[in-house]
């Protein structure tokens, strides 16, 4: 009996990690962009959706060649993101932040219908790559091998990669400086426009990567953009907007809570995360690892 419970516990714990890794892949890009540009990009969910759909297209064209799609699909998303940033966001950086928010919201609507026009309204699916269709046994429990060998490493590598990029490279240091004082970084000789476009491109890449990695794990449908963006918002509000460590922590909490919540109240598992978010908001309005904000955003 005891063995049964520890087993269930272990399975849910690992399942929680899967959820966390998936949501972190998407949320990290949103948080990074918010930290530097001060823009909350509603359309980040669209990047995720396009990443997934582009994988579908690539796999369809190449008759099952999955791995290159993990890079190519996010790169196409980067093109979308850069066009969006240069054409629509640049002219309104100085406007009220709410206008920027509304603009990215407009992009959600546009991107959303474009997907319907391009791919139709039915659910699509991407097959798991060869060799990762089955399951693996870990400590006596079965887990899908794609999640173990692709999703978890992808999530972990993204955490590590972002950490190294931000803390060990010159550009990363500039990016961190820009999250604190954008005007000052310009006065020190950094081309802020270029930096913005670059960061937005990285954010779009991460969003697209999240969609690409998650594509074989579930159905692709128009509307998945909106479903994911709400989860991402929950995660970043929980962890602290703009804080990369906070996003990772938020994703972990979100994943585990959801995973264990399903055990108890399968129908309303998402309610837990809202309750937690409400509690955090009262106790620590800036999020778990967020910095105190003075007025501003």
């Amino acid at each position: 009996m005891v063995d049964f419970f520890t087993n269930v516990f272990f399975v849910q714990l690992v399942n929680g990690l899967f959820i966390a890794a998936g949501i972190y892949l998407v949320a990290s890009g949103l948080s990074l962009v918010f930290g530097v540009l001060g823009i909350l990009n509603f359309a980040h969910g669209s990047f995720y959706m396009y990443g997934a759909f582009f994988v579908f297209t690539y796999v369809g064209f190449t008759a099952g060649d999955f791995w290159p799609a993990l890079f190519i699909a996010p790169m196409v998303v980067v093109i979308l993101g850069v066009v969006m940033e240069v054409v629509f966001l640049r002219p309104i950086y100085k406007a009220d932040p709410l206008y920027q928010l509304l603009l990215t919201y407009a992009m959600v609507l546009i991107f959303g219908d474009l997907v319907k026009i391009l791919y139709g309204a039915e659910n699509l699916s991407v097959a798991r790559p060869e060799g990762f269709e089955g399951t693996v046994t870990i400590a006596g429990s079965l887990f899908p091998s794609y999640q173990i060998f692709v999703l978890l490493p992808a999530g972990f590598l993204t955490v590590l990669g972002l950490y190294l990029f931000l803390n060990r490279t010159n550009v990363g240091r500039t990016v961190r400086a820009a999250t604190q004082d954008r005007e000052m970084i310009g006065a020190l000789g950094v081309n802020v426009r270029l930096l913005y476009t670059g960061v937005f491109a990285i954010g779009a890449f991460l969003g697209g990567l999240g969609g690409a990695v998650l594509a074989p794990m579930g159905a692709l449908y128009p509307g998945m953009d909106f479903d994911v963006i709400i989860e991402v918002f929950l995660v970043v509000v929980l962890g602290g907007l703009g804080s990369m460590a906070g996003t990772a922590l938020g994703a972990l909490i979100y994943g585990e809570l959801k995973s264990f919540g399903i055990l108890w109240v399968p129908e309303l598992e998402s309610v837990f995360i809202y309750v937690l978010m409400a509690v955090v908001l009262v106790a620590r309005p800036q999020g778990l690892l967020g910095k105190k904000v003075e007025g501003g955003h």
Binding site: N170, R173, M184, G186, G189, V192
Partner: protein, 237 residues
């Protein structure tokens, strides 16, 4: 002449701040911009730096018209800006703050004498022991020195200093004054905004006095010392 500001008008949104400011700075000089709070000193520096573009008039730096150019281009041409209220990157360590400011000198100037972290430490020895501390945990004086050091790392030919003595203890102000004097000795051209006229006149060769967005006086420090009327009226000395 390294910097020439010709009759600039600048406004923030609907409120007009500058009404035709004209000043100039020669190579190797230290020039003070004096005046009370809110007369347009900071706005003048921001206009030069391209942070707030003037609506009329021109800013000429080393013979190039830089009016309204993006601030990073102005910085790359060799103008270093040390902002009011210090504005260090509080989550970055002192070393990282300095590294963020690093950029090569404009067209190989500075006589091959590049600014390095070591050289900044020479001027501001106190920063050396704080290298790994987060910028946010420094005292006001340390932060001010870090801000100046960070700008120096960009190898500027002209330094715009905005209210460096603001909010610092008298003893710290004296240190800072010595350090700025040393920079000047090394040949740095400085445009210094100050409310603290005593601090500024001790360092400068010439001074301008601003009032309500206009230049009310321009001349050498000696001339200013002799002109009691001006000093009483605008500086309240």
């Amino acid at each position: 002449m390294i910097l020439e500001v010709n009759d600039i008008y600048t406004s923030y949104g609907l409120s007009q701040i500058l009404f035709g400011i004209s000043i100039n700075v020669d190579e190797g000089e230290c020039v003070a911009l004096l005046g009370r709070n809110g007369v347009g000193k900071t706005t003048t520096l921001r206009s030069i730096m391209g942070l707030t573009a003037p609506t009329k008039g021109s800013v000429v730096y080393k013979g190039n018209d830089i009016t309204g150019r993006a601030s990073f281009r102005v910085a790359k041409m060799g103008v270093g800006f040390v902002p009011e209220e210090r504005r260090i990157f509080s989550d970055l360590s002192v070393r990282e703050n300095l590294e963020t400011g690093r950029k090569p000198a404009a067209n190989g100037a500075n006589g091959g004498k590049e600014w390095t972290i070591d050289r900044v430490h020479e001027i501001f020895p106190i920063l050396e022991g704080l290298s790994d501390r987060k910028g946010g945990y420094l005292s006001g004086g340390e932060q001010q020195m870090l801000t100046v050091g960070r700008t120096l790392m960009g190898n500027p030919d002209l330094l715009l200093l905005d209210e460096p003595s603001e909010g610092l203890a008298p003893l710290v102000v004296r240190d800072l004054s010595n350090q700025i004097a040393r920079l000047k000795e090394e040949g740095m051209t400085i445009l210094l905004c100050e409310q603290n006229a005593k601090f500024a006149t001790g360092l400068s060769d010439r001074a301008y006095i601003l009032e309500k967005g206009q230049v009310r006086f321009g001349g050498t420090i000696d001339e200013l010392q002799e002109n009691e009327e001006i000093r009483d009226q605008y500086l309240g000395l």
